[in-house]
Symmetry: none
Subunit: 133 residues, 4 copies
């Protein structure tokens, strides 16, 4: 697949969000990898380029890439661009603690949704929509 920076600004920051910027960046890369938009070996935007595109400090982008590296999702190489880890592969089956973590995230979603006035039915519908395809 094409490198991510052919179409710049695929990564965007939400200034209002409470999430730290480096996390927002990392999360979006994770999503690209999870959905296959980025595949093993694909190059990530250069640190400098992305930092300037987003108007953030270089260290912020670096922090995002390092976080992804510690998850073995990307490979940061000195002198050349970071790439999606060539041997990245989704585990055949999830570790039990990962299932537990996803379950707990779903509980957070449930709590959020109920408190904000959604019905369980509406939430289930939204889940079917987002979690399908």
């Amino acid at each position: 697949m094409a490198d991510l920076d052919r179409e710049p600004a695929l990564i965007r920051l939400n200034e209002e969000s409470a999430a730290p910027k480096y996390m927002q960046i990392a999360e979006q890369v994770r999503e690209f990898v999870a959905t296959g938009k980025l595949r093993p070996g694909d190059q990530l935007p250069s640190v400098r380029q992305l930092a300037s595109d987003l108007g953030v400090n270089v260290n912020t982008v670096l922090a995002a890439y390092r976080a992804l590296e510690s998850e073995a999702i990307v490979l940061v190489r000195h002198g050349s661009r970071a790439i999606v880890h060539p041997r990245f592969k989704r585990p055949a089956r999830p570790a039990p603690e990962d299932v537990a973590q996803v379950r707990s995230l779903l509980w957070r979603v449930r709590t959020e949704a109920l408190l904000r006035g959604m019905t369980l039915e509406a939430l289930q519908g939204l889940a079917r929509e987002v979690l399908s395809e």
Copy 2:
């Protein structure tokens, strides 16, 4: 409904979690309120009591209660126990931005699950389980 401190230790801290303690406390109270385990007017544990139960500083519990107060979920009054806000009511229908936020949370769940090796089918099953009843 019975007050929350009839059965102590309903609130627990997960030392492993990256989430700050005061947030963990607040999140659990939110969940109790969302599920109806705690209802408007119900008393929360006193800050001192809960702090000693959890082995944390009083100020940590206070921070949790204040966060909840700023969300209009609990009412903290000088001299008497914090209670679930007497006029707390789930909105009849969610605000559009709240739906958007829940959707984005679901996306995070999806990304997490896929990266960790869950199939969409497994995730849908988990979602049906957690988001039902």
Copy 3:
């Protein structure tokens, strides 16, 4: 003028208010005195009666009366009811620091009103309404 407890519940508490209960009580008595509804020598409701009417602790009412006593507005006598201080009289002219305090209160009103979307014109109109008669 008639004693205040001829018509019970002239004093009311706003449970939602951030102001402490004893202050709410004191403030309402001050208003009765300021407007002449209560005059020097008039009896205040008995501590027990008012406490039971309002559903608060006796000490709360006592705190209110003591606050008023320290302002020389009421006289609390052992064994008999509190009364509006028989020699209470509004000063002929305000002390300079009192004017300063009123001015600072007006600034607070101004800030509140502007932040909440009132125009200065609307605020002036409201002020003319409340501060007249």
Copy 4:
């Protein structure tokens, strides 16, 4: 507009006041925002700087900023200075309960003024002065 810390000590504490320090700080920021001295996006003094200027603990300033954040007046983000909320805008028209609250504040002013010997005329003059321009 210039950031608030160009001219230090624009915020001052009144040791005499019964109001807690963090509230005094918050109130002054509110006033700057209400009058336009601080505008959306403007930086607030750093918590450390302001704490040292005022001779108070860092946590005291933090408490003030957090109070303002919960009112959506400022935006505090980890790692960068607190700023006036970029989307802060006075509501086009005040909510009815806000008008009610302002009215009740005006009643407090009225009571205070009368008890301390001001005439209604004097008070009206003071109000015209403070609430104009």
